[in-house]
């Protein structure tokens, strides 16, 4: 129909729509069909929602890789320039605590996987909450150990800035090493704290009987995040704690 006001503007093409690309007729309307109470209505069905949620978390984790990547790049550059200085500085880190934390996180990934599994098989809420709780306990342990290590650095004047004091042969590279140490482990610790926050919410939802075999996407997605934070530590530990081996001096 020609628009009555269209002196200057051509109206819609006069003939019936040419090669209309849309067969808009089939009622594709899911609102008439029963659906899961957790289905968000902009999705067609639960399958699409699950796929979108998991893809979303994977994409987010890619951004996190790039985020940590900047720090890893700085680390690689400065380690390449100062190999001895970095090795000397690394020897002052406590490998035992670092190894303990590594084990703690690996086990926490196990408990997290079991939490996801328990939701997936519609285990009782008590079981789900138990695994989630175990994961959180291990995460908190990790942070506790880091707190002990940070305090130790503070008392030994290893915090970069005006109070930094280094007795060894390479003071400038040591300060650089510890700058990177605090930035990298600090950023990682912040991610752990956020992870604990997420797990609190997930734990609460599990206690409220939200998750079963038909719907456990939030647990799965939280699990992906948790595993990622674990993997970052798997890289941080050898790069920071194990330079040059600790067993020769």
């Amino acid at each position: 129909m020609r628009d009555a006001h269209s002196e200057h503007f051509p109206g819609p093409i006069h003939q019936p729509p040419l090669a209309s690309n849309v067969d808009a007729i089939q009622p594709h309307d899911h609102e008439e069909l029963p659906h899961h109470p957790k289905l968000q209505h902009h999705f067609d069905d639960m399958a699409q929602q699950v796929e979108a949620s998991t893809l979303g978390m994977w994409v987010f984790l890619v951004t996190e890789i790039m985020f940590f990547g900047g720090l890893f790049t700085a680390y690689l550059v400065y380690r390449y320039i100062n190999p001895e200085g970095f090795a000397e500085a690394s020897h002052h880190l406590n490998v035992t605590w670092g190894a303990v934390n590594t084990i703690v996180l690996i086990v926490s990934s196990l408990t997290m996987a079991l939490a996801v599994r328990s939701a997936q098989i519609s285990a009782p809420p008590k079981t789900q909450v138990a695994w989630i709780g175990a994961t959180m306990l291990l995460g908190a342990t990790f942070l506790g150990v880091k707190a002990i290590e940070y305090y130790d650095k503070f008392t030994h004047h290893l915090v970069p800035g005006p109070n930094f004091h280094w007795e060894g042969k390479h003071p400038a590279p040591a300060e650089m090493f510890y700058s990177l140490y605090f930035c990298m482990t600090g950023l990682h610790a912040i991610h752990m704290v956020i992870g604990l926050g997420i797990m609190t919410v997930i734990g609460f939802m599990a206690w409220r009987r939200t998750f079963d075999a038909d719907y456990y996407t939030p647990v799965e997605v939280a699990g992906l995040y948790w595993h990622f934070v674990d993997i970052v530590w798997i890289f941080l530990f050898p790069l920071l704690y194990l330079i040059g081996g600790h067993f020769t001096e």
Binding site: P10, I13, L18, G85, H170, A172
Partner: protein, 327 residues
Amino acid sequence: MFTNFPFFPHQASAHAAQVDAIYFFMVSVTAFFSLLIAGLLVFFAIKYHRRDDDEVGAAIHGSLALELLWTIIPFFITMLMFGWGAMVFFDAYRPPKGAMEIYIVGKQWMWKAQHMGGQKEINELHVPVGRAVKLTMGSEDVLHSFYIPAFRVKADVIPGRYNVLWFTPTKPGRYHLFCAEYCGTNHSGMIGWVEVMEPTDFQAWLGGGRASDSPAAAGEKLFQDLVCISCHRDDAQARGPQLKGLFGHTVRLQGGATAVADEAYIRESIVNPQAKIVDGFLPIMPTFQGLVSEEQLLQLIAYVRSLGEVAAPAPAGAAAAPAPGKD
């Protein structure tokens, strides 16, 4: 306002014409394609102007032949530009041997130049026409960039390291010198002049004016004042490597690596001596970071150079390292 309104700066170095040549080529290519596209747009807009409300365009989807054509031809043009640009860069990159050396220190917000004969300048640089000049440049504080438009040369001046810039002036005259890397409040005031003189005038300029120590002589004084001599000496009490004939030599370091003893190496050895330890010596040299300015570092380097340079690297393990000191 209308004085001196050219489109191109003076061509005052041997390099400038090379830069202008590739510039002209690229301007031509840009003008050609811009006019071509603009012309086609205007032409098509007129020729195919919509005549009635129901008109639609032709049913054309594409053409592989055309796509290949306008991919491959631009690719060749860009590769030509790449190669040409790289060659012009090579010319600017490597100073020829025997170039006249001048040290430059940039600091907020002035340029300090130091000729090897001791002449110092601030915000001015006198050079003779027809002779290659090599500038070794350091910064006292933040990033700067040394830019002489008439010569078409520029190099960043970076704290903590040295960058080199070279040119051969071809036309006497007075040319702008600009700082081209934003460096704070008075960045646009960090400017000056390069004065290109006939060789005789330049000699006269060198001779006149306040006599001051050559950088090498000033460096020697510093060497005494800072008591470097206590370790860097050529007798059995020496605890540090000999400096005679060191400059340009390839040095053997602890752990087997080697390094060439150039300006950057000497600077690093003074401000961060633990970074590279010469094979056969102990890591006992204290750092002078913060105790010497960039200018003084250049003077010390000039002094070390004056102790003899080596044109070609010596064989590995040769005699720059006397017997280890005590302990």
